[in-house]
Amino acid sequence: MQKEYTVTVYTEDRIGITNRITVIFTRRGINITSLTTAETEVPGVYKFVITVLSTRDLLEKVVGQIERLIEIHRAFVHEEDEVVYQELALYKISTKALHQGDIEKIIRDNNARILTITPDYFVLEKTGHQQELIGMLQKLEPYGLIEYTKSGRVAIVKWSRRFHEHLKDLSLQEADNLKD
């Protein structure tokens, strides 16, 4: 059955690696719904967190094909309950809304932060799961929302200890120093 999965991929720091990963999803006709990447605690090793709507069976195959790439350390498929994850959203709202009724309550209830205020608009930040971010979006819409933007997912895998120890061991081994 199709549902949302988180795929994590650990890679070397190499130009074009995103393309190498994404073409494998493309070939199978899988739409990537979000993609986040950044360096891990191990210098030179990058982690991709990719969310997709698909089936476990298909994703296991995709992950196998990703792992086959030379500059990939490992790739995994995770169910919702295997990861602790967070997403971040910014909301730009007309400053006039500050004078309207419930905005304070919305900010409080959502644990949102105000990042900046100008005479024209102010910007709120909220972290959470997608539904929560969208929940606040819907609450804000009546107040003259100008823009909404959301990040991809960052995720930590609940059972990642051994693998990350392995990555640290690996970091003692030299990566090749070919320039990108």
Partner: protein, 583 residues
Amino acid sequence: MQQKDVLPMKSEDSDKRTAAAPEIITGAEAVIRSLIAEDVDTIFGYPGGAIMPIYDALYDFQDKVHHILVRHEQGATHAAQGYTRAGGKTGVVFATSGPGATNLVTGLADAYMDSTPMVCITGQVAAVLLGTDAFQETDVIGITTPITKWNIQVTRPEDIPGAIAKAFYVAKSGRPGPVLVDITKNAQVGKLDFQYKACDYIRSYKPVPVLDIEQVKKAAEVINSAKKPYILAGHGILISGAEKELVALSEKAQIPVASTLLGLSAMSTSHANYVGMLGMHGNYGPNINTLEADVIIAIGMRFDDRVTGEVASYARQAKIIHFEIDKAEINKIINADVAVHADAKEALTALLPLINKADHAEWLETFRAADRKEEEMVTKKELYPTEGQLKMAEVVRLISEQTDGRAILVTDVGQHQMIASRYYRFKDPNTNITSGGMGTMGFSLPAAMGAKVGAPDKTVVAVIGDGCFQMTLQELGTIYQTQIGVKIVILNNNFLGMVRQWQQLFFDKRYSSTEMINPDFVQIAKGFYVPGRKVTERSEIAAAVKEMLDTPGAYLLEVVVEQEDNVFPMVPAGAPLSAIRLA
């Protein structure tokens, strides 16, 4: 999470390929010196603006490296494939940027599908021009990413030796494949402190998995309790060099062995336990008995759809044991009951002592009974016709007999390919070279050329269709210039026969654009100074094959065969194996 297996060991071999003291040289010279350090003595290529510095450097090393000037870059790739598959050394290809590089695409895709190691080196515009649509700039890295095992663009001279070292290591190790190194012009003309160090380790890449002996024990248990065990031998046997282990396993427990198209020649076709070829046009017994076996032992093969037919009905009664080096192939198409993720030779070596001697005479007899049926309905009249036009199969039989099954057979794509693969009686490993996964028309002439260069002491026979020949026939120019003694057999039915067969069987005989009005092939060969002969009569064919084999050097034999012949047996595409047709 599991660790991705243990780190590979450094090999002593790599130290030998490591040059001594550093020296200041150009990037272009570093390319050639790196190749020499990798023991390269043959390159297939075609020059052009962006790779000229490398060709200029090559000029000084003509005593060490033989450059074979092909007539089209696609020909260079297929030649490199044939060279590797016949001789075992990694083939090397040079091409210029832009159109030179894009002409490599078909060969790269073919080599990727058929796990053939190959190192392609392309010239590229100077780094400052990258991304500007400069003359003959193309994004060769972007284009070839999905069809190479690995690729890299090098923009600094000092990165050249490291990139080439890595390229060879990646191409050859684990499940082999093609790699591409794109070198910008500034990197070719710039200087570096040259020191070559062969690569034998990449921290994110574990080419050879650590054999899990528990899985081997499980496999042995299942095999030992099998009543109708059945080995499917793939290309992985040949790549791994596990031919002897395959025979030993088959003999110890009396297990029948069938071969995939690319697995042909891994086991001698005259071995008593060898039962034939799998697949759409494979033999009858091997296909139908896939639905009878209780244990299937698949070794170094990937359950291609031409082998499985309809996947849902494929071997549902059987336990599947899958020996495979590429983890991504395990459970990709057919779920394995026991998966042994390992190199074939290593796994079979560990498996053999755990296998009990057994005798499956009755089971083997069912293959022979199926054979008799196939012989009655198909084979006899194919191999020994007495009337009508010449048949492809009888020509292949004569070639097989007159070469004693010891030639390297290079086939193209279509009816002639299936017929040659079905009827050539292979004796020695690595004597079957064909385009399996891609089915690339035009493969065989350049591949045969490369095979002959890679294995000069072997007779190399290319069996080619009239359609396929016209895709790459310009390589006759290379054959003439380089004096490559390949034997070329054109099985001319004046049709794109395989497509015509489908039109006859599945499209109501509507022969849409499959008829060929052909040129005079012998005359064409003459134009390239390759001797030849055209045969239309049964009475002449044996002598003509002999003349071809006896004539020193290259020779082209055109055989006019029955026009509207079909290849049987046939499992229609996507149909269950039980739907196999004998007529």
